[in-house]
């Protein structure tokens, strides 16, 4: 092994970086149809990066995959403590999968805290790789281990692999001009190398990535590559790891096409840029940094060559204010935020409702109320999106169901905003935002047409024959008002948040006019053309499970389990929360029982019960994590039987 490591060091100039490493074939290889791996360590240990890299390797190998990053809100939480543990779970398979998986088959624990925080999720029989170097008496006491769990028998029944990851990494990097502390930092790459060997992952992508990430620090790049290779070689040579595993590409799971791995926030950012292209309007983002939405601001700010303007505002209110100003000027305007930001933006959303201008409000939901759980997921902003404004201020709501679906949801939200001249809420969440999955890259001709027509001239003739422009004269089909942007001669007009007279848009306090305008704004939103909800019901079930947003994966996985066990259950999933699809009432009434699992205390269920007088049952979880398929399946089974 030493010779291999030093040879890697000699290659540190990068001459062979990118070469695929292949097992020598002297060890047992077993085939698996799917694997769930969880990397866990201190929040400074680089677990997210490690998980990201393993995901990229897996994606380029062609497995289906789903990921669940889980990290504390603190950037560097106290080292070695339970709250400081950061983890990344990856589920990959040779067939199509829907969730990041319930229980890991493999846990990589970089320290005692990571073991303690995660062992409860790991079933007996699973493999556990621990970094023994960190299992000092003090570190173990810090998290309440009186005796070493590696020795006291508490891990009996697991396949425990005690590996001195730190020592091996430092040893592998001894020829580099690095302090011990610097060398230790590459231990996550050692672990990644080991896991890459275990699961036959392609390695050239990670080596290229490291080279480019540390392009300005070639020594660090070389050290990380050396650690990565040392980890791989360790698996290949040490007897502790007798078996490696193959998970074949998920060829049959994917329709023909070109694929990439994509996270929800990235897909959403791309969806916005694509919408701007399809609408032929410049994209304007007004935003204030907030977890877990900031990545969209970061991503869009990189694409100025698409004519994208990103404005980091002084606060949430200015973020949406600037976006609304840009919308008045004819941009495809967006503001991105999370729940607390939506609360601050409420008044401006109300103004946008009154002004009837297109505006996308992207809410990457997180645990609430108040600051809540910034890095954890929840879907408890539905009623805020629906009702969180003064007065009757209806806003359409669109929710993506998977990370890749954030792309299509952004396009759909843009379609509604532009067609109906209205603010639209796009409700993603932390799980979708940071999770990733393979995405079939759409062909240009598959993208929706979104072009808009600005008002060009007068749209009304007065009794005396004068041709005038009325900013609130509506399209009879959509009830949308004309979008007349500054710079258009003859259409100068004034709009505002005070109630407007129908047609002219002039200030009006007339009672009958207000009643008419309130009802008309509502009718416009109620009349939005949304596709019917599809029901998956192969066995004429009596129970329907209805979901929305990111619960799609777990619900579908649970439904599959139930059907595999011989149960009958129908499934429907909503993309449009306002207005609901026109067939929803009929669908709901066709079943004896409707169950609605949500990561809140029953917000969709409240809307469904109020709207359709259906005795919908809620199944709720608000622990900051997505549902687990097994747990959901059990709950649904109870509903079927009950």
């Amino acid at each position: 092994m030493t010779s291999q490591v030093s040879s890697a060091a000699e290659q540190a100039d990068g001459t062979v970086v990118g070469e695929q490493r292949k097992p020598a074939g002297t060890k047992d290889v077993r085939r698996l149809d799917r694997v769930i791996i969880r990397f866990a360590g201190d929040s400074g240990d680089g677990m997210q990066l490690t998980g990201d890299r393993f995901t990229s390797e897996t994606a380029s190998f062609g497995n289906d995959l789903s990921t669940l990053p889980n990290f504390p809100a603190e950037i560097r939480a106290p080292a070695g403590t339970l709250p400081g543990v950061s983890s990344f779970q990856l589920h990959f398979a040779d067939h199509d999968i829907l969730t990041p998986g319930d229980a890991p088959n493999v846990l990589v624990a970089m320290n005692p805290a990571a073991l303690k925080a995660n062992i409860g999720d790991v079933p007996r029989g699973a493999e556990i790789i621990v970094n023994t170097d960190e299992f000092t008496k003090r570190a173990m006491q810090k998290v309440g281990y009186d005796a070493s769990p590696l020795e006291d028998g508490s891990l009996d029944g697991y396949h425990l692999h005690p590996v001195p990851l730190t020592t091996l990494t430092v040893e592998a990097l001894k020829d580099f001009d690095l302090t011990r502390k610097e060398a230790e930092r590459s231990k996550n790459m050692f672990a990644l190398g080991l896991l890459s060997w275990m699961y036959h992952r392609p390695t050239e992508g990670t080596e290229k990535f490291l080279k480019s990430k540390f392009a300005k620090k070639p020594d660090i790049a070389a050290a990380n590559i050396a650690a990565f290779r040392a980890g791989w070689n360790f698996g290949e040579t040490t007897e502790d790891f007798a078996v490696s595993y193959e998970v074949a590409p998920a060829v049959k799971a994917f329709p023909v096409g070109t694929y990439r791995n994509i996270s929800g926030n990235l897909a959403l950012a791309y969806g916005l840029i694509t919408a701007s292209r399809q609408a032929d309007l410049p994209l304007f983002l007004g935003s204030y940094p907030i977890t877990p939405a900031s990545d969209i601001l970061h991503e869009l700010s990189k694409h100025k060559n698409f004519g994208v303007r990103t404005f980091q505002a002084e606060d949430e209110i200015a973020g949406i204010g600037a976006a609304l100003g840009a919308a008045f000027g004819g941009s495809l305007a967006v503001t991105t935020t999370s729940g607390p930001g939506v609360a601050l933006k409420s008044e401006t959303i109300g103004l946008a409702v009154s002004l009837e201008l297109p505006l996308l409000v992207v809410d990457i939901q997180r645990g609430g109320p108040s600051t809540g759980l910034p890095t954890k997921t929840e879907q408890a902003d539905l009623l805020q999106a629906m009702f969180g404004r003064n007065g009757e201020a209806p806003v359409p709501i669109v929710a993506p169901r998977t990370p890749a679906d954030c792309f299509d949801a952004a396009l759909e939200a843009a379609r509604i905003a532009l067609t109906y001249r209205t603010p639209v809420m796009l409700l993603s969440d932390g799980y979708l935002a940071n999770g990733s999955e393979p995405w079939r890259i759409p062909e240009p001709d598959e993208l929706p047409e979104l072009t808009v027509q600005f008002a060009q001239g007068p749209n009304h003739t007065l009794e005396d024959g004068t041709e005038v422009f009325w900013p609130y004269k509506r399209d009879p089909q959509t009830l949308a008002r004309p979008w007349a942007i500054p710079g258009t001669p003859g259409l100068e007009h004034r709009i505002g948040g005070i109630e407007k007279e129908d047609g002219t848009g002039n200030i009006s306090y007339a009672p009958a006019n207000h009643d008419f305008m309130v009802r008309t704004r509502q009718a416009k939103i109620d009349g939005i053309d949304v596709p019917d909800v599809e029901v998956d019901d192969p066995h004429e079930a009596r129970t329907l499970v209805l979901g929305w947003g990111s619960t799609y994966g777990p619900i579908t996985a649970a439904v599959r389990r139930l059907r595999a066990a011989g149960e009958s259950i129908a499934q429907a999933h909503l993309r449009h929360l306002n207005p609901f699809p026109k067939n929803l009432g009929t669908v709901l009434k066709a079943y004896d029982k409707v169950v609605i699992p949500e990561m809140n205390l029953g917000q969709l269920a409240t809307l469904i019960r109020a709207r359709y007088l259906v005795d919908a049952h809620s199944y709720n979880q608000v622990n900051g994590m997505p549902f687990k398929a097994e747990q959901l399946a059990a709950a649904l089974k109870e509903a079927i039987d009950g």
């Binding site: 994606a59 190998f61 062609g62 060829v251 994917f254 329709p255 023909v256 096409g257 070109t258 694929y259 990439r260 791995n261 791309y270 840029i273 694509t274 292209r277 410049p282 304007f284 007004g286 694409h303 100025k304 060559n305 698409f306 994208v308 303007r309 404005f311 505002a313 002084e314 606060d315 209110i317 200015a318 204010g321 600037a322 609304l324 100003g325 840009a326 919308a327 008045f328 000027g329 004819g330 008044e347 401006t348 109300g350 103004l351 002004l355 890259i441 500054p486 710079g487 258009t488 001669p489 003859g490 259409l491 100068e492 007009h493 004034r494 709009i495 505002g496 005070i498 002039n506 200030i507």
Partner: protein, 359 residues
């Protein structure tokens, strides 16, 4: 001194991207068909007339002018201008106008706000607009009272103000809008008075020519809830002694026979008003609105007595050129295209790592 032409202003760089009017305009072109609904006698009428009277001088296409306001009496202003306009929500006009101006550089964007709108509920947006230096002209109507909510004290009311919400007198120290703006890195700060149309127009002229954010504080009389707040500056006799008319490049002298002047106190470095004598005449401060340092402009903004308004400077305190936000934003877009080419959507969506599934 900046542009003072009364003809078309094709030379104003700040407005070079805004299309020009095809025909000569008059004041009535800028009057909308809406009935003006301020209280009779309100100072807002005079400001509206001054702005409508000044606009033809800019010679800009009317459709490329936008007035954005917040909430309050002054914020009804856009309804009366025959341009594009938005009457938005309380305090947010600078934010909304920032989005508009930075995405549409072919527009001349004006913000109309009041002391409550700009300095209380919208204080944050105001200071950030000023520091960013977006191409906005902000008209801050300061009447030192809340008018539309019927007479509560405002963030510019003098301490001890007896109002409906402060029957025993207000407790909070007021903002000085000019000091605040200078502190917020404003590149153009001026003060004028509603009733002095000539001065108001001249300040508007200089503001319009300024590239970047211009803040104009306009002392405006609310004859219903705070009548006579600026009487000391309006009454011809008292005004002569109270008002200091700042003109770039001119010694700062005022009073009858220009008997008073502003000098620097050698001991403290601060400014003070003295009687001009042959001995000290050479020490009278010459106003330099374009000074790189904001120190003297700030000191001038502190000269006035907040209660009596004696020694109140009006005119342009500060007008300096610095990078304009929307210009730089546009330049970054151009640079990005130069560096990476015009965005290629297919390449973006594909990214670096893809794999292909064939049938």
């Amino acid at each position: 001194m900046a542009e003072t032409s009364t003809e078309g202003t094709g030379t104003i760089e700040a407005l070079s991207l805004v299309p020009k009017a095809e025909a000569r305009q008059s004041m009535k072109d800028f009057k909308s068909d809406q009935e003006v609904r301020w209280c009779p006698g309100c100072g807002d009428y005079a400001i509206l007339a001054a702005v409508q009277g000044f606009m033809p001088e800019l010679g800009l296409a009317r459709e490329n002018i936008v007035f954005v306001s917040g909430i309050g009496c002054s914020s009804r202003f856009p309804y009366y201008m025959n341009t594009y306009g938005m009457h938005s929500i309380h305090g947010r006009a600078p934010a909304i106008a920032t989005g508009l101006a930075s995405s549409r550089r072919d527009l001349s964007v004006w913000v109309v706000t009041g002391d409550g709108d700009a300095l209380s509920i919208g204080g944050n947006h105001l200071i950030h607009a000023l520091r960013r230096n977006v191409n906005l002209k902000i008209l801050l109507f300061n009447n030192r009272i809340y008018g539309l909510t019927k007479g509560q004290y405002s963030p510019t009311s003098e301490v001890g103000k007896i109002t409906k919400s402060t029957p025993m007198g207000s407790l909070d120290a007021p903002f000085n809008p000019v000091s605040l703006a200078i502190g917020a890195e404003a590149s153009f700060v001026a003060r004028t008075i509603d009733s002095d149309r000539k001065h108001l127009t001249e300040v508007l002229r200089q503001a319009a020519a300024h590239p970047g954010t211009a803040l104009i504080e306009i002392y405006q009389n609310c004859n219903i809830f705070n009548d006579g707040a600026f009487e000391a500056l309006k009454d011809k006799k008292s005004a002569e002694e109270a008002v200091i008319r700042l003109e770039h490049g001119q010694p700062i002298r005022f009073g009858s026979d220009l008997a008073k002047g502003v000098v620097r106190d050698r001991a403290t470095g601060d400014l003070k008003v003295v009687a001009v004598t042959p001995e000290n005449e050479s020490e009278i401060l010459v106003h330099d609105a374009h000074s790189a340092s904001a120190t003297t402009a700030f000191a001038l903004s502190r000269l006035a007595d907040p209660d009596t308004l004696h020694n109140t400077p009006i005119g342009v305190f500060r007008a300096v050129e610095r990078p304009v936000y929307d210009t730089q934003m546009a330049e970054q877009l151009d640079t990005a295209i130069e560096q990476h080419g015009k965005g290629d959507l297919a390449a973006l969506l594909a990214g670096g790592d893809t794999w292909t599934v064939v049938g």
